[in-house]
Structure formats: structure tokens, C-alpha cells
């Protein structure tokens, strides 16, 4: 038995670690650092219907253990991705998850239809939580009715299981999670970034050209843990957790909170080897803590083990 293996809808993960969308491009840069086949999976950069340049620069700012970004979904468009990026990713023995974004439900549908048919893609991650684009993105992610409706529509056209990526910028994350679960989501990924802003005191103006951006990194980890913990208890579908993971203990924290797998975002920018290092470090840390299989601890923070027993 592989003590790190995790099976989720559409995904046979050899371990629970995968880079988070937008933080790993389409893998090309990181393939220079290590063999991507070690990864449980890869969540690729968001795909939209057409090619997008994204927001003007500056696109990143920083603040106490957090990164603010306003990339704005720059990507070569779904067709560009299928043609120029997926063949490369197809070489690796790992599960590729396509992140789908759009400005309208029709765009989400069109992108999903196209990309979910590609054999390289094993699951769809429905990005209804990007705070960095004018239309689409966050508005679908903060209204449970709109989120559910979009989930239903995307599910209807998808060849592959659909994971919905939740935004933390809501009053009730539980309500959002339940809405998309009822609408047919196969899984959840959470959390996307918190909306934030930094101002340059030399100019008095926001540092980001887009003014606001998404806050990621260790700063948001406690928010992520809390949300995963609250949602895991009330949904039946699995959660891929993310938000501030930098160390092996952060991975365990997310799984204790109720996640079944863990994505790593910002940390890839700090240390390009991070995913590989986390995968290597997990078994040793599990030994120290007396953990047999990684999922033995899933949800134990709220007593999930009791239910299993």
C-alpha cells in the first residue's frame, strides 16, 4: 500500500501534493528544476475562452508573510493551451487538473467543453473566485445561487469531474460549499486568495496597477484551515486544501482540518523545489507522528476518526 496515495473523483494521486493553479504556469519552468512525475497532480494556470494579456504591471506586492497578486488571468486561451501546453504536460506521470475561468457562463461552458475532452486533463477546477478580473471571477464565487447555477451548467458540459474553487471573501463559506455540492460539484478546492490592497506611501497610490489583488501565502493559512475545517464537516465531497502551505506540517494541518489533498501556491515562487521537497518529507514526518496512511488523519481535528471507527 502506498501510504501517500489518495483517490479522488477522476484523480489517482500518488501523493496528496500538487502545485496550485497560477503558481506553476504550465509546468515548463519547473520541469527544469525537477521531474514533474513526482507530483500527485498539477493544477494548471487558468484557461479562458480567448487569449488574455491580463492586468498592467506592477502585478505583485508584498506584506507580512503574504503576497498580493493581480496577474489577471493572463493565458494563451483554451485553444492555445490545448495546442501548446497540454502535449508537454502529457509526458509526465501525474494528474493534470485544468483551471477554468471566464466572464460569462457561456465562456465557462465553452472552455470546459473543449478542455475536458482532452485526454491529458483528468479533472476541471472551476475558478469562480479570482479577485483580479473586472467581470466574471469573484461575482460567481460570492453568491451561492450564481455559483450553483454555474456549477450545474459546467457539470452538464464537462467530460471530467468538476471541482469548484471557493473564494474566502464570503460571509458563509459553508453556504457556498453546500450550494455547489447540491449543484453537482464532484469536489471543492479552497481557498482562493483574500482580496487585499497595499498603498505606496511615496505616491499615496495603490502599489498594484489593478489597485486590488489577491492575498496568498502564510498570512492566510489560518483562514484556510478554519474554512476547510468548517466545510469538511458538512459536505460529502472531497476538499483539496490550499492557502499558505510552506512546510510539511502545513500539509498535515490541512488534512487534519479535513482536506484530502493539498495544493501549494505561493511557496513555489519562494522555493521552486518546494513540492518535491514536501513529498519527500512527508513519510518521515508521518513516521515521527505515528501516522500510517496520510488519510488516517483526515478531519481528525473535528473528530472524523471517530466517525470512521
Amino acid at each position: 500500500m502506498n501510504r501517500l496515495a489518495v483517490t479522488l473523483p477522476g484523480l489517482n494521486l500518488k501523493n496528496p501534493i500538487m502545485p496550485a493553479s497560477g503558481c506553476f504556469g504550465f509546468g515548463e519552468e519547473f520541469a527544469k528544476f525537477y521531474d514533474l512525475s513526482v507530483l500527485g497532480g498539477i493544477m494548471i494556470k487558468a484557461a479562458t475562452g480567448e487569449e488574455r494579456y491580463g492586468n498592467p504591471t506592477p502585478r505583485v506586492a508584498e506584506s507580512g508573510m503574504g503576497m498580493l497578486n493581480a496577474i489577471g488571468l493572463q493565458n494563451p486561451g483554451v485553444e492555445g493551451i490545448i495546442e501548446t501546453k497540454l502535449p508537454f504536460l502529457g509526458q509526465f506521470d501525474t494528474e493534470i487538473i485544468a483551471n477554468v475561468a471566464g466572464s460569462t457562463p457561456e465562456e465557462y461552458e465553452a472552455v470546459t467543453r473543449l478542455i475536458s475532452q482532452n485526454p491529458v486533463i483528468k479533472a476541471i477546477e472551476l475558478n469562480i473566485s479570482c479577485p483580479n478580473v473586472k467581470s466574471g471571477g469573484l461575482q460567481f464565487g460570492t453568491d451561492p445561487k450564481m455559483a450553483a447555477e454555474l456549477t450545474r451548467r459546467v457539470k452538464a458540459v464537462s467530460d471530467k469531474p468538476v471541482y469548484v474553487k471557493l473564494s474566502p471573501n464570503v460571509t458563509s463559506i459553508v453556504e457556498m460549499a453546500q450550494a455547489v455540492e447540491q449543484a453537482g460539484a464532484d469536489g471543492l478546492t479552497m481557498i482562493n486568495t483574500l482580496v487585499g490592497m497595499r498603498i505606496d506611501v511615496r505616491t499615496g497610490q495603490p502599489i498594484l496597477a489593478n489597485r486590488i489583488g489577491g492575498l496568498s501565502g502564510p498570512a492566510i493559512k489560518p483562514v484556510a484551515i478554519r474554512m476547510i475545517h468548517d466545510v469538511a464537516q458538512v459536505v460529502e465531497i472531497p476538499i483539496i486544501g490550499m492557502g499558505g502551505v510552506m512546510e510539511v506540517d502545513d500539509v498535515l494541518e490541512m488534512i487534519y482540518a479535513g482536506a484530502s489533498a493539498v495544493a501549494v501556491g505561493t511557496a513555489n515562487f519562494v522555493n521552486p523545489f518546494i513540492c518535491q521537497e514536501l513529498i519527500a518529507a512527508l513519510p518521515k514526518r508521518m513516521d515521527e507522528l505515528g501516522i500510517e496512511h496520510i488519510l488516517d488523519i483526515r478531519g481528525n481535528a473535528y473528530g472524523a476518526a471517530l466517525h470512521r471507527a
Partner: protein
């Protein structure tokens, strides 16, 4: 690609400017104009140009701006610095015709990569001149070092050292056929219009990853496309980027 450098020395070389010399774990050939992505206290790394390399010693020259560079400046001999790199593509030193007349133009914290570049050019037998622009006399650094390599003109905005004005005030493009520059965006933008055969600019955009993955550092190109400063640059032909 990630190494721990050992601090050999830090030295103030001007008001707010520090020279940091580190020992690399091994001797390495590094092309001028590339940068290291250094991790100190803050979350993200800080891109700092390679100002010189001699044997296993590497020099960085930087201005104290915020937390990252302040922490770099406070390092002490024996401390370790987590460095990712060298990254990016530098100046095309090896492609420059030894008979060409090269001028290196640096502004403020754009000066550091030019020192190593000029040294390498001079080693190849290329005659170079440098024009280095600063705010004020207090902020001038590495004047002597550059002068050892070739004729060097200093400009300061307030005229307290060298020629009063910007680097462009001192630049006579007709005397050169290659211009290599690094400095603040307005300076680079004005150099784009200088009539000269070959002009290469090193751009210092805000970076996230430094390796081409995050799209933080993109720069538009005249063909409607874009380049990534970190992995396509930081050095570009002047006509290849829109600043």
C-alpha cells in the same frame, strides 16, 4: 540552482548603498547582466544583479529600499544567504565586436550590473566608457572602480558631483555604436530614442518567482506580444520592449 552563499563582507559604499561580498559554494562562470534571487526575511525573494564575480566571490551592490534590502545590508560575515540563480539573460558581451565603441549607461541602482559587464568587455579587449547617473554626491558609488576600467563620467541631478543633469545630458551617441544600460524606467525610456546602432536595456520590473512562472514581470512588445523580464530578460534590445 539554490545555494547558500556565505557572507564575506558588507560595506557601505554610499549613503544607503551597500556592497555585499559572498562566497559561493563553488567557482562558477556567470555572464554579466544576470541576477540572483535572494531570500532574506520577507516572503518573496529579492532580485539583485550580479555586480561582480571573481573566483568563488560574488558581489552585490544595492540600495536600501525596504525590509528586504535592509536585512541584506545588516548581514554579517559568516551569515548565510539563500540564493536562487543565476537567473535571466544578461548583456551579450560575447557577441559584441571587439572593435566596437561601447558606452555603458547606468542610473542609481542600475549601475551594479554594468560594473561586471564593463569588466568582462574590457577583458575581451573592447574599449568602453561609462556614464553613471546619481541623485546627489552622497549617493555616488563605484566611481573609482569604473575609472580603472575606462573613462567614466558621473552625473548628478543636483550637480553636487560630476555633470549636473541626467545621464542623457552627458551622452554623445555619435561617438558610440553600442549602448548598454540599466536604470530607472524613465531613463531607459529616453534611451530608447537615442540614435545608435545597438542598444541593450536591462529592465528592473517587480518580480514574483524570477523563473518565468508567475507572470508578474511581463513587459509588452511592439508586435502586440509580451516578454517576461525574469526569464526572457532582464536584458532586451531597446526596440524589443515597450516601456
Amino acid at each position: 540552482m539554490i545555494e547558500l552563499l556565505t557572507v564575506v563582507s558588507t560595506k557601505k559604499v554610499a549613503v544607503n548603498a551597500t556592497a555585499l561580498i559572498c562566497r559561493m559554494p563553488e567557482v562558477k562562470k556567470i555572464e554579466p547582466g544576470r541576477f540572483m534571487h535572494l531570500r532574506v526575511g520577507p516572503l518573496l525573494r529579492r532580485p539583485i544583479s550580479i555586480a561582480n564575480v571573481e573566483g568563488d566571490l560574488i558581489t552585490f551592490l544595492f540600495k536600501e529600499i525596504g525590509q528586504g534590502t535592509k536585512e541584506l545590508a545588516s548581514l554579517r560575515p559568516g551569515d548565510f544567504v539563500d540564493a536562487l540563480g543565476p537567473l535571466g539573460n544578461g548583456f551579450p558581451v560575447n557577441l559584441i565586436d571587439p572593435t566596437s565603441r561601447v558606452v555603458l549607461v547606468g542610473g542609481g541602482i542600475g549601475v551594479p550590473p554594468l560594473y561586471y559587464t564593463m569588466r568582462k568587455l574590457v577583458e575581451r579587449g573592447v574599449t568602453c566608457e561609462a556614464i553613471l547617473g546619481f541623485d546627489t554626491a552622497d549617493s555616488v558609488f563605484y566611481e573609482e572602480e569604473f575609472k580603472k576600467l575606462g573613462p567614466t563620467t558621473i552625473t548628478t541631478v543636483d550637480g553636487t558631483a560630476g555633470i549636473q543633469g541626467f545621464v542623457t545630458t552627458a551622452l554623445t551617441p555619435e561617438r558610440f555604436d553600442t549602448l548598454l544600460a540599466c536604470g530607472p524606467e524613465p531613463m531607459l525610456r529616453s534611451l530608447q530614442t537615442v540614435p545608435i546602432q545597438d542598444c541593450f536595456l536591462s529592465i528592473e520590473n517587480r518580480m514574483g518567482c524570477g523563473i518565468g512562472a508567475c507572470f508578474a514581470c511581463v513587459c509588452k512588445t511592439p508586435d502586440g506580444n509580451y516578454v517576461k523580464t525574469c526569464s526572457d530578460g532582464p536584458v532586451f534590445r531597446a526596440e524589443a520592449v515597450i516601456l
